[in-house]
Amino acid sequence: GEPKQGGILRMYHRDSPGNASIHEGATYSLNVPFMPVFNNLVIYKQDEAQNTMENIVPELAKSWAWVNDNKTLTFRLRQGVKWHDGKPLTSADVKCTFDMLMGKSQQKFRQNPRKSWYDQVNDISTNGDLEVSFNLKRPQPSLLALLASGYTPVYPCHVSPGDMRTHPIGTGPFKFVEFKANESIKLTRNTDYWRKGRPYLDGIEFTIIPNRSTAILAFVAGKFDMTFPTEVSIPLLKDVKSQAPNAICEVEPNNVATNIIVNSSAPPFDNIDIRKAMALSLDRKAFISIMFEGQGDVGGTMLPPPNGLWGMPKEMLETIPGYGPDINANREEAKKLMQKAGYGPDKHLAVKVSTRNIPVYRDPAVILIDQLKSIYIDGELDVVETANWFPKIARKDYMLGLNLTGNAVDDPDQSFYENYSCGSERNYTNYCNKEIEKLFDVQSQETDIAKRKKLVWDIDKKLQEDVARPIIFHARTGTCWQPYVKGVTVMTNSSYNGYRYEDLWMDK
Amino acid sequence: MADTSDLVLDVKNLKTVFFTNSGLFKAVDDVSFTVSRGETLAIVGESGCGKSVTALSLMRLVPDPPGRIVGGTVTLEDTDLLALSEAEMRKIRGDRISMIFQEPMTSLNPVMRIGDQIVEAVRLHRNLSSREAQNIAVEMLRLVRIPEPVRRAREYPHQLSGGMRQRAMIAMALACRPALLIADEPTTALDVTIQAQILALILDLQKELGTGLVLITHDLGVVAQTAQRVIVMYAGRKVEEASVEALFAAPKHPYTRGLMASIPAVPASGVAAPERLNEISGTVPSLVRLPKGCAFAPRCTLAIKRCEAEYPPLTDWGGGHLAACWRAAEVAEVA
């Protein structure tokens, strides 16, 4: 039917985000409730499931253009856009936002997790109130993809970062009303939204319910119109379907890769043979079958096709050691490598597998330990509190770590630089391979998509072969909503970008 | 023995058993006695011989579980108490038959005022307004010679001395002028001078009200000074019964005899004290494991084969002097 105006969308939230400032967070606990408050310059089309370059549409920018040998990206801003506090949006706001992200302004974010996205940006220049340009050091076509992410809203200049953490002001379809920590987040319709007739909803209310069973029960009982996106696990999904057969549920990859961080700077994993043996021992299908009852993807760093744009084709993947279909053969080979390194049936290698004290981290670690048993490695689980996890990893106080890496944008630039470049803060393993790093730059500048894909595949393959940070699987999770909620699109190659919710409406 | 028409209480073949962790035993075994109007019957015996249980059985207050009255009749002024329903019994308790307990310290409710406790006793059986009952309570306290009864009535038990508490207990027990009063070691916890006061008081009141009195004690001195008739109990059984004079003059049961000889006498009393006290060797048997025959046999210097095999029946040795001993006739000579 025709979209209808009205209604408040009730959703539960999986946990209380630390603050309300998207730029200061690296979790979609923040994106989901606060993305509706903002606008980007450009954005992935909200009704398309897959994020691609072609799907990027203007938002605050009316149009954009690559100029200056693809080294300058210029945006023309929409006119008459107002911040929620009534001030007009100007190019200065855009400059402010990105200067702050690059760490170039007076005002500082407390934390700035995506600073590296703008490594290639020299500066931002404005031309009048409605034009703004990103001046790059070298061409980087994927910058646009990064700018289209839900992680890249434009902030107002006149609101301090501190205020943005507690009371965000945006230009988006919904205005921030209140955020009660551990209790609720409330948004209300921005009646002054620049896009006429939008949003349909009168408001959105998130009730924070950290307890999953309570949350699902509440959804089933009709207390909520929608679950928290991508928070419904496969077993719970079955439960929802049995209890609320009318509910609509979708299971999609969320572009979160479960991987092993290997401390190759200290024994025993400084030995490439042992690293390789470990890679060979993995039975990825088993992981997927246990964690997702079969609904997960095997792949390299990049999310595999068809949902992922940049993942290696299956045939290529299987040539990587450890990805071959014959697990037993792999493990035989692994045992040989272990024996070469001096271990065997009588002499097991004892290792600690560190991970965070959250089921999605812990469960695969348990499986990993079990699989390592087959190649003379006795793993011991070392569960670390969230507070101590990063300090511990930073100290290199671990042997193996089981880690989850979420990719906000399905683009190699985002994942390669962030996770594998020498010196990147999120390169936990300190993997550093100058040659590959050069290849990162090559692919980054490549404008021809097909060529770039080839390059990316090669890099990805090499990364896996080096056992820097072996990827175990790419997860899939579910999102459910009541049948009367219309216009929901669950994105299939990112779980960070699809929550503007201005097209959502309720058929009630 | 007093005239039967004057009987207040007639107990026949009373039997009370206990079921406990260490076994089942007969705490009161086939005990019979009578009490007449105005008469004092003393029950003596050592600790644990069943005196209190006998008393509680008369009141039908044996804690159940573990105890149970399993036989006999208790006739109070023509009513068989054991045949009554619990509700009917409640009407009689505290009205026609009442009891003073051993421990004045713990027998009063610590969180209720003395006066209120007496008032309760009165109002349970008399249809009186609370004011009238209050007056009676104060009157009773005055009767038991508590100074300043009006003030004391408003006090809590812990504010009273032991002697005063026992007086308050007596006031409460006599508030409805019962036909029978049972006093279970009313003075054991008190000092001699207070004991003398209390005993004198009880006897006075008994005379005044014509109440039948069952006085339980283990002190032969108290018996001698207060009772008209005496029952001696040993291990749950009545082993001897006689008038006070007869009993003290010539006890027929070796146990009674031993008991009398084993208590030292005050030099000034005129009773000559032996150099060495007479011992009853051995100890009081546990009720759970009683010997088959006479329970006293193991300690008895006169015991013969028969004593161990057969329990001696209670026999009248003349003048209503009952004793349960095969050799009662010889006791006087042998010992």
Binding site: - | V192, T193, A196, A200, P264, A265, V266, P267, T283
Partner: protein, 328 residues
Amino acid sequence: MTERLLEVTDLKKHYPVRAGVLRRQVGTVHSVDGVSFSLGAGETLGLVGESGCGKSTVARSVLRLIEPTSGQIRLDGEDITHLSKTALRRHRRSMQIVFQDPFASLNPRMIAGDIVGEPLAVHGLASGKALEARVAKLFEQVGLRPDQMRNFPHQFSGGQRQRICIARALALGPRLIVCDEPVSALDVSIQAQVINLLIDLQKQHGFSYLFIAHDLAVVAHISHRVAVMYLGRIVEIADKDELFRNPRHPYTQALLASVPIANPLAKKLAPLVDGDVPSPVNPPPGCAFHTRCRFAMERCRIERPVLMDAGDGHQVACLLNDGTGQSQ
């Protein structure tokens, strides 16, 4: 009996009373308020008095189980009132105590043999086989079978338990045994056994007893001399026969008159005193007994009588008849 084994002079024990809501000291319990007596070797001094008059407090103070407030305790001429704990340990061997409740005086978790042997072990006087032999001997002395050494207290009867207590007291070979109502908790028929035992032991070993009881007959039976206490003080002290034949203090007289005599033909009970014992907290001024005394005079309310000799070592604290009390 010329040798004074124990000499107690002006013993006082006061407890603060933190009564009332204030928890402030509002008064003092004059538990023992100036008690003096002496005890010769091989002698038994009986101590009687109503409950709470301070008998046990005297007993405990003599043994220094509680610290007296003031006064002096001399054992064998040596002042032990202020000895340190270690110095006192030596003297513990000369004086022992037997308590009223034999069951509570025995550690329920120890076997009888260990209980009796403990004093020897503590003082390092014997160990191993020797200890066992000594204990067996002690058992025989008090009329217990040595094979009962393995039994726990609850497996004994009341009288036997008291025998164990006595055996423990005997273990160190004391010269003085303080008996704090040792037979009050026992059955009449058992009481005689214990009293006889105590007398026998005294004959054999020449102990001195400080014998406390509230039963006049028992005290009379066992003691050579008897002291009568009232409200923290000794009101009369004399040879047994003298005291019973010729009590001079009105309280002693009342006490004697109150004892029910096991003879229906003897005189009936005639309570000579009214009312209750006053509280030892802030006792009445003057003679503490004046509140209940038939002969109380104006003077008794003001003046506190002291123990005076009325002849033959018969001491009495009464203002009647020039301080010699009421003679019968």
